[in-house]
């Protein structure tokens, strides 16, 4: 009988942290709005992974509940975000976020 391999919680959390930072850097570095949205998705999924890891480590279902909520939020966010992207594309004729700076003081 094979012994169950248990992934330590620290490894899971580190992976979640890496994913989060990658997403964050993507939000800050990319100029294309589509890629910014994708980076945001990565950040959300990093959060979800952290919840799952923490929930499994403590043996509780709360982590999975939180992940379900995050999934829902991500779906809603993509709907609104893509709608905005379409509007921005139509108005500015570009997807470059730096061009949309009319609110500058």
């Amino acid at each position: 009988m094979m012994e169950a391999v248990v992934v330590p919680m620290e490894h899971g959390l580190l992976l979640a942290g890496f994913l989060f930072v990658i997403g964050l850097l993507g939000v800050m570095a990319r100029r294309n709005v589509i890629f910014i949205l994708m980076s945001l998705e990565i950040m959300l999924n990093a959060c979800g992974l952290a919840f799952i890891v923490a929930g499994s480590a403590h043996g509780e279902a709360d982590g999975q509940v939180m992940f379900m909520i995050i999934l829902t939020i991500a779906a809603a966010e993509v709907v609104v975000g893509l709608g905005l992207v379409l509007q921005a594309r139509r108005r500015f004729r570009t997807l470059d976020i730096d061009q949309a700076s009319q609110l500058g003081g």
């Binding site: 800050m28 570095a29 730096d98 949309a100 700076s101 609110l103 500058g104 003081g105």
Partner: protein
């Protein structure tokens, strides 16, 4: 015996005041003849009432002062002055001068300022002045006196600046107002000191309380008397506050006659005479009065010798003559001072109105170097100047002779300083004769330099003739002021009685000698022999220069550096920091979404680092 008319004393200030109100509220919409009738008529009516009251009061043979209370003015913290008038020999003398001479000057003015576009404004101020001056001399308490005192000061300011379109007239008016205000400040302090120590400002109460509280020579009455002297110096143009009066000649000539010769400038003499009991308690202050008068009369007489403006000569002679009144007050010849005040009002009003008469015919030419040979062309002007100057120089049998003679003899009788005071006064009398007849000879004799137009009408000639008569016989009037004032020192020195009248005659003879030998030359005025002395005297002993350098310019300098007020820096800095901070923070609102995200992350990192204790 009922003094029915005396109870109507309130009519005297009220009549000119009503005329003032009418003229003020109609703002020049009344026709000119009506304005003249109102302006001069109200003062004439007041003079009539004064005449009746004086006859009744003096006829009753009662020398006790009559007090007429109108109403309680205020009642605050023990200070309860009433609006009350006091009628005695002193105030009646002053009233007769103010309303009598004032009426003549008003009549004269109806013609003199007829060409002005602000005819009504002139009489508005003049009536207000007469009203305030009457309140000044009738007041039974120092606060009411101060009200009149400030009232005449304001009217003086308004009338000096009557021709306000010329900026220099405005400057002269401000100078007069500010310089007299310095004196008024002293006077207010003196009043406060008296009130603090005696608890009342009513004049009769002050004198009784002062006599009961203080010993002769105490510090408090000395300081109070010196402060009142400061006020009198400002108003009466005495050293060291006399510099405003010559500039005050910027006003119309009747104003100079009424305010700056006959009435307002003698208010200081009246004040000291009214408070004589206080000055008797302070021999030091009284001696100071005498020396202020002596110095002033000599300084002003010296300056008058060199002036070329007909009105400035008269202005300096006014300062000098008021100096004589102060000298009289200082040596205890109280009634002689008031006597000289009265005769001076007659002959100086005559001289000023005569000057106005001459100037009017010469199209407002003031410079005596442009005048000459006017005796035949303007006989009334010549007569008034001859009589006025004779009285001013105190030639025997003129009005000025009786009063000035009395002053000089009283000065001689003054204890330890008698000889000095007499010698100074006699030197002044000699100079007075010299400069007044220099003026007469240059203006009326010799070659004609400017052709005069026809002499002015009888509205100007008439008052001149009346004043001529008064200047001649005014010395025989015995002013009832002597009834309330202490007697002059008795016993006149036999030799001095003959020497004193001779001095002005010497002056007149010298003036004639200098004139006929053409020594009153103007060409080498500043460069000829003694030019430096003449320039020094011409500049009024460089006093204007001195005040300009020591007071006016430093004050301007202070005002200039204060223009950027140190306190303002605090508020300016607050506003500046806010503005700089705002523009710095506005830079961060770039509209760059990625920049916002970056700063948020940066902030978060720092925050978390702090929470973890790394930073």
């Amino acid at each position: 015996m009922g003094l029915t008319w005396v109870q109507l004393i309130w009519l005297v200030p009220l009549l000119p005041f009503l005329s003032f109100l009418t003229l003020f509220l109609t703002q020049g919409r009344l026709p000119r003849p009506l304005v003249g009738v109102l302006g001069a008529g109200s003062v004439g009516l007041a003079a009539l009432v004064v005449g009746v009251i004086a006859t009744e009061y003096l006829g009753a043979g009662n020398t006790a002062p009559v007090s007429v209370q109108m109403f309680q003015w205020m009642n605050v913290g023990g200070l309860n002055p009433s609006f009350g008038f006091i009628i005695d020999g002193l105030s009646i003398t002053m009233l007769c001068v103010i309303t009598g001479v004032g009426f003549l000057i008003h009549v004269y003015s109806t013609l003199f300022v007829l060409e002005e576009k602000d005819y009504s404004r002139f009489f508005t101020y003049m009536n207000l002045f007469v009203s305030a001056m009457i309140i000044l001399v009738l007041a039974d308490n120092l606060l009411l006196l101060y009200l009149g005192w400030e009232g005449v000061g304001v009217c003086s300011y308004l009338l000096i600046g009557y021709w306000y379109e010329d900026a220099s007239n405005g400057r002269a008016a401000r100078k007069a107002f500010i310089v007299t205000r310095i004196g008024d400040g002293f006077m207010a302090l003196g009043m406060l000191l008296l009130f603090t120590h005696l608890g009342t400002l009513e004049i009769s109460a002050v004198t009784t309380a002062a006599a009961a509280t203080f010993q002769t020579g105490d510090t408090i009455p000395t300081i109070a008397a010196l402060l009142l002297l400061g006020g009198a110096c400002g108003k009466s143009a005495q050293l060291p506050l006399q510099t405003w009066l010559p500039d005050a000649m910027a006003g119309p000539t009747p104003v100079s006659a009424l305010i700056h010769a006959a009435t307002m400038v003698t208010a200081g003499v009246y004040l000291i005479a009214r408070m004589h009991d206080l000055f008797l308690l302070a021999p030091v202050a009284q001696l100071a009065v005498a020396f202020v008068g002596l110095l002033t009369l000599l300084v002003a007489a010296g300056t008058a010798l060199t002036q070329n403006d007909i009105k400035r000569i008269l202005a300096y002679s006014t300062i000098s003559q008021i100096g004589y009144m102060f000298l009289a007050l200082g040596v205890g010849a109280w009634s002689a001072a008031i006597f000289h005040l009265m005769t001076h009002a007659f002959f100086k009003a005559l001289l000023f109105l005569g000057a106005g008469y001459v100037v009017y015919s010469l199209h407002h030419e003031h410079d005596i170097r442009q005048m000459g040979g006017l005796a035949r062309r303007l006989p009334i002007g010549f007569a008034s100047f001859l009589i006025g100057s004779a009285a001013l120089a105190a030639l025997p049998m003129t009005s000025g002779f009786f009063s000035k003679d009395e002053i000089l003899l009283a000065a001689y009788e003054h204890g330890e300083w008698g000889g000095l005071l007499w010698a100074g006064g006699a030197l002044g009398a000699f100079l007075t004769a010299l400069y007044s007849f220099r003026l007469v000879f240059i203006v009326f004799l010799g070659p004609t330099r400017t052709e005069p137009s026809a002499p002015a009408g009888w509205l100007m000639g008439g008052p001149l003739l009346v004043l001529c008569v008064l200047s001649l016989v005014g010395g025989f009037i015995d002013p009832p002021a002597a009834l309330v004032l202490p007697a002059s020192p008795p016993g006149h020195d036999a030799v001095m009685q003959w020497v004193t009248p001779a001095i002005p005659i010497v002056g007149v003879v010298l003036a004639w000698f200098l004139f006929s030998s053409r020594s009153f030359s103007f060409g080498d005025f500043a460069t000829g022999p003694g030019g430096a002395l003449r320039r020094f005297l011409y500049s009024h002993w460089a006093m204007d220069w001195l005040y300009d350098r020591t007071i006016v310019r430093p004050y301007y300098w202070l005002a200039r550096i204060n223009r950027s007020d140190a306190v303002d820096y605090v508020y300016a800095a607050t506003a500046g920091i806010t503005r700089v901070g705002s523009s710095a923070l506005a830079l961060t609102q770039s509209g760059q979404l990625r920049w916002y995200a970056g700063t948020m992350v940066g902030g978060l990192v720092i925050f978390v680092a702090i929470l973890l204790g790394i930073l």
